[in-house]
């Protein structure tokens, strides 16, 4: 039997008394796309940091059979990471930023030009990173993540700062990467197209995995298709579209206190929730 490309077992990450990740376990086969969902503070970014080995943790994480704790550098060669806010050096040009990272990753520098073209940034190759728009920075950071042609991509809310059109382009790119056989773990706040894009959905809440299955299974578990949500800047049309994508037809949308992700948590059986969880 083939071993999974990414295996997380009993992952615990504590900051003092706070358990940011509390015994999370899941695994990903090669070539699958998994969406990691959960409200802010659920432990998504912390889980990524643990997989990358940039922070200490308890439990076991293996990438392509290699232990993150024991062989962190080799593991990171197999990972392409796209953070929520790309931290590329503002003083560098796009080309310099990628060349530096290519050298760090031991990647062929010939890939820099190829990826600048793929990210549609060839014209901006000598433009400083500080002068790029949010979408361009995000594309540059994705190009950086792909430099060493890693088998696993960790994308941490990559479309959070993108408009609808850029988000669609980005999702198309992820679909292409999936077709190329990449394993992708994607944390997001946007449900649109996740039904098509993600093979599986993992929902984290307070550091625990509260759901692991397909998008359809998640939608089927929702007790109702009427929710009161806080749009919080999200366009109603985009939100309606996102709900339709998972088979929920919104009948009424009004301002409220809860984040839209709470609807996912609200759809879970009571036994899988913690006390005090909003429903």
């Amino acid at each position: 039997m083939r071993s999974p490309m990414l295996k997380v077992e009993g992952l615990v990450k504590a900051y003092g008394p706070l358990r940011a990740v509390d015994g999370a376990s899941f695994s990903l086969d090669a070539g699958t796309v998994v969406a990691l969902l959960g409200p802010n503070g659920a432990g998504k970014t912390t889980t990524f940091k643990c997989i990358l080995g940039v922070t200490g943790f308890e439990g076991t994480i293996e990438v392509d059979g290699l232990s993150v704790r024991e062989r962190g550098k080799e593991v990171r060669r197999r990972l392409g990471y796209l953070p929520q806010t790309p931290a590329l050096s503002d003083g560098d040009t796009c080309r310099q930023a990628l060349e530096f990272l290519a050298e760090l990753k031991g990647a062929d520098k010939g890939r820099v030009a190829r990826l600048l073209k793929l990210a549609n940034l060839w014209e901006q190759r000598d433009t400083k990173v500080s002068r790029l728009s949010g979408g361009m920075r995000q594309r540059l950071a994705l190009a950086a993540a792909l430099l060493a042609d890693p088998p696993v991509l960790l994308l941490d809310e990559p479309t959070a700062s993108l408009d609808l059109e850029s988000r669609r382009e980005f999702h198309d790119l992820i679909a292409r990467l999936r077709d190329e056989g990449k394993t992708v773990i994607l944390s997001t706040h946007f449900l649109d197209r996740l039904g098509d894009l993600a093979d599986r959905v993992i929902v984290l809440n307070q550091g625990r995995v509260v759901f692991d299955g397909t998008m359809r299974e998640l939608a089927e578990r929702a007790p109702t298709n009427r929710f009161v949500v806080n749009l919080n800047g999200t366009a109603p049309a985009a939100f309606s579209e996102a709900l339709r994508a998972i088979g929920i037809g919104p009948e009424r949308v009004t301002p409220a206190d809860s984040h839209w992700e709470d609807l996912l948590l609200a759809s879970l059986p009571a036994g899988e929730e913690k006390e005090g969880e909003p429903r």
């Binding site: 990358l52 940039v54 550098k73 953070p83 931290a87 050096s89 050298e103």
Partner: protein, 274 residues
Amino acid sequence: MSAITAVMKKEVRDAFSNWWLLLYGGLFTLLALGLSYLGQKNLGSLGFENFSRTTASLLNLCLLLAPLIALSLGAGAIAGERDRGALTYLLSQPLERRELLLGKFAGLFASIGLATTAGFGAAGIVISLSGSAMDAGTYLLFLFLVLALIAVMTGLGLVASVVSATRVQALGLAVLVWFAAVFFFDLVLIGMVSATSLGDGGLLLALLANPVEIVRVLAIIHLEPDLEVLGPFGSYLLDEWGMARATGLLALALVAWTVMPVWLAVRLFERRDS
């Protein structure tokens, strides 16, 4: 090794776009040229003495400016990345924490060293063109000592950077170390020597505890072993140990001061949780 080289090259590129380093390089070169020019004008007929005095003035300039810039740039190296949210991203690349730190150290040392060498070079050219006798060996030894002090202070700056939560905190710590090493140390120890009896061992330890003092004494005993210039620690050392043994001891202490802060910074950085 290639990861260290990559970080080093990036650090050099960043350092030379940092206006603090450019300001330091420009100011240092100007002051070095000014000192050389004044030295020639006032003492033009004295030949080697002339060179010696110019170098002694340069020494004071170096002991003041070089530690300040090395400490402050070192302090910003890791804390600065943390401040702008780039540290996690850097560490998510295939490189070890020690490689990042050693690359930063090498890059900063190369940048500050280059800026300093440019100042020395300019002064050296002025002295040579004026036709004064010039002991190139001593001049190079002096440059080497200043470079060693830059390495020590960059390492101490890195320690401040690693233990601090923010860049401002790290810079504050760096300025405190600079003030203590350059001004406070001498005053306190001279006071202690007058008020109490430190004893031979105490005097020696006091000297070895401050890398700025080590470089100053090492430079002076090779430049102009004048007891008045040497100060209490240098005079004691020369009297008790002799030139060769004193040089060996101080050189060894300087090597330890160069290695220890970098080693400590690596250890502390490896223990920190991002």
